[in-house]
């Protein structure tokens, strides 16, 4: 961070000012003039937190995608289908057993096994053939989408969280001051906060595993030079399968999270595939911190867009992508 500040003093200054403004917006009681200009603080805070939690969900989906791409150069356009499969599996697990928490390991396992099959049956046969992988995974996603429509029907499912997680909690953030001097505190759904914290924990654990463990070292070495890694005697195919299983499992977990946040339905697969594409393009292919940054940006853009410019909310996300591509084609955190 200090290195960044030394290298780009102007940018560091701008970012510091922006953060200060943001903190003031979050903690201060808004004066009336500001309220007239951009609306009530409650709306702003809700958009902010919804954006951050949506970013957490996007991070869960996109980190698996970017991990798989970064290590194996596998282009898995069926990633959205893995997400949707996880959502359906999670919904039915929670529905049958009645335990919401059980949905996560089951979805992780089922989707991870599916991912292993994909890696062994498809990707290993066409290593290095980008276009063919893309086409085959597009075909797989078409087939999977129709099979899931067949098996699970076209209805919207909503995974309901357990009672101890449902309902809003009162946070310590002040949204307004009543005329009698009482402070009004922001209420926010508990489940969103828990899920966001879980996403952060997953991100931190992933970062630690990549940077502090032996397997992480092997994966990072594989990202840099696959051939040299296998020449040193590492069982690279097993590492590949493990990473693919983990990335796919993350997509499955994200499906359960998405089903709790929003809903599980046909068409969500393409939506989340696109979201993860945009996130990794913005953040930089194959970079986990990049995926986190991109997910946060895209989640915030989507939520603020839908609150403040409702007609062009989706276009705003793509605008971010276009600007990043035009000035930094490798992504914000990507390396050349």
């Amino acid at each position: 961070m200090r290195l960044f500040a030394q290298r780009h003093p102007v940018w560091a200054g701008i970012i510091a000012v922006l953060i200060a403004i943001l903190l003031w917006l979050i903690f201060a009681i808004w004066p009336d003039g500001l309220k007239d200009a951009i609306g009530r603080k409650k709306v702003f805070l809700n958009a902010l937190f919804n954006g951050i939690t949506l970013g957490g969900l996007y991070f869960l989906v996109a980190s698996g995608f970017t991990l798989i791409f970064g290590l194996m150069r596998n282009v898995n356009l069926a990633h959205g289908s893995l997400y949707l499969l996880g959502g359906y599996v999670g919904f039915h697990t929670a529905d049958i057993t009645g335990y919401w928490l059980l949905a996560f390991p089951v979805a992780f396992l089922v989707v991870a096994v599916f991912g292993v099959l994909l890696q062994i049956l498809v990707f290993r046969r066409m290593e290095g053939e980008d276009l063919r992988q893309t086409l085959v995974t597009i075909g797989i996603s078409i087939v999977m989408a129709d099979l899931m429509l067949w098996g699970f029907g076209g209805d919207f499912f909503n995974i309901s969280p357990p009672p101890w997680l449902s309902g809003p909690i009162e946070t310590f953030l002040v949204t307004a001051q009543k005329s009698n001097g009482d402070l009004v505190y922001l209420k926010y759904p508990m489940v969103r906060i828990v899920i966001f914290v879980a996403a952060v924990v997953v991100g931190v654990v992933m970062w630690l595993a990549l940077n502090r463990t032996r397997i992480g070292m092997m994966i990072r070495a594989g990202v840099d030079d696959r051939d040299m890694l296998s020449a040193t005697g590492a069982r690279i195919q097993i590492v590949f399968i493990g990473v693919f299983a983990f990335g796919a499992g993350l997509a499955g977990i994200a499906g359960v999270v998405g089903g709790t946040f929003q809903s599980v339905a046909p068409g969500e697969d393409i939506r989340f595939l696109l979201a993860s594409l945009v996130v990794v393009i913005v953040g930089g292919m194959g970079s986990i911190p990049g995926a986190a940054l991109g997910a946060l940006l895209i989640g915030l853009a989507e939520q603020f867009g839908s609150v403040y410019f409702p007609t062009y909310a989706v276009v705003l996300t793509f605008l971010i992508m276009v600007v990043v591509l035009a000035f930094r084609p490798q992504g914000l955190m990507g390396t050349e």
Partner: protein, 358 residues
């Protein structure tokens, strides 16, 4: 006693050149051309308008993808967005049932303007997309196609949102109703043949050859002094003309354009068509489109006849696509070439037989 050499008069020479040009057209083209020209005498209006017309239109849009992918090495999923953009422009500047938006300008302004705007749009997209390579191009063009889809769905001032435009009809030129089955058949056939010939011509012209050089080795082409980026962007512009023509015809055929026309599924369908047909030769997209249209029209009936639910149509398309890309990355053209080369091989020596004079 005279060593007078007979020199052909200019008229004869012209005739000779024309004759040799005609000789060079492969016989297959003659057969196909005659069949395509006389088909309307034998088939029903439905086949002409719905099957053949749709085949030529989808073939044109897929042809623009084939040009970019096959000769330029850039697989773009935004071609359907370009086609839809041209269709939208025709609806906005031309006539439609949404009279509050449609300008109702004459066709000879509307159509060139629509194509021009499409080319500008595609050039901008191309400029963005060529900053990336290979797999990134697919992702970025997919994202752009999705952005265009969402934009048309949410913008009501210009694109009329979810509804889109209906009653977008072709103009009555020369007193012909161009949406009549026969007239529409010949209209689409004309543009399909023109697009096919244009792509074939450009692929052998200096620009096309340079583009193929850029595809194979951009660094070497740059060292030779070619502007790699400019060639790639120009390829997008050229492909957009073809896609735009296809899009205008598509809008006229269904007489409407809406966000569903330019959706992500439609973009992927174009890719499926181009890949199933084959990205090596401009005939591929038309073969792919023909198969796709046949499947889309009759697969439901066949599925029902086999005792399955007709809803599983998408599954059939997906599985067929999977099988083809799994076993033959070059599509049906690739299968055909494999078959021919295996027939041409001597079973004893395993080497190619010398080709006899045909």
């Amino acid at each position: 006693m005279s060593d007078h050499v007979e020199t052909p008069t200019p008229a004869e020479r012209n005739h000779l050149r024309l004759g040799s040009w005609i000789d060079r057209v492969p016989p297959g083209y003659w057969v196909l051309g005659v069949i395509l020209l006389v088909i309307p005498a034998f088939v029903s209006d439905f086949v002409m308008f719905q099957i053949m017309g749709w085949t030529f239109i989808l073939g044109l849009i897929a042809l623009s993808l084939m040009f970019l992918g096959g000769y330029g090495g850039m697989v773009s999923l935004a071609q359907m967005a370009f086609a839809g953009f041209a269709g939208y422009m025709v609806a906005i500047f031309g006539n439609s049932a949404i009279t509050t938006i449609s300008q109702d300008w004459p066709w000879w302004i509307v159509i060139p303007l629509a194509l021009l705007l499409t080319v500008l749009f595609a050039t901008a997209v191309g400029w963005l997309a060529v900053r990336t390579e290979g797999i990134y191009t697919i992702m970025i063009t997919l994202a752009i196609a999705a952005a265009f889809f969402y934009f048309t769905r949410q913008n009501y001032d210009l694109f009329n949102g979810f509804q889109g435009f209906n009653s977008v009809l072709p103009p009555h030129i020369f007193g012909v109703d161009w949406r009549g089955p026969e007239a529409f058949y010949y209209l689409t056939l004309f543009w399909a043949v023109l697009g096919y010939c244009a792509v074939l011509y450009v692929s052998r012209a200096p620009f096309g050859l340079a583009l193929q050089g850029v595809r194979d080795n951009p660094r070497r082409m740059a060292a030779l002094g070619y502007n790699v980026t400019a060639h790639r962007v120009a390829a997008y512009s050229f492909a957009a003309i073809i896609a735009g023509i296809g899009g205008i015809l598509l809008t006229w055929q269904s007489s409407q354009i809406s966000p569903g026309t330019v959706g992500i599924n439609a973009a992927i369908d174009i890719l499926v068509i181009a890949v199933v047909g084959g990205l090596r030769h401009p005939i591929g997209p038309f073969i792919g489109a023909f198969i796709y249209v046949l499947l889309k029209t009759f697969a439901t009936d066949v599925l029902v006849a086999l005792g399955l639910s007709g809803d599983r149509f998408q599954l059939v398309i997906g599985l067929g696509f999977l099988i083809i890309v799994f076993f033959s990355p070059d599509g049906i053209l690739g299968l055909w070439e494999k078959l021919r080369s295996s027939q041409n091989r001597d079973p004893l020596t395993g080497q190619d037989r010398p080709r006899g004079p045909l």
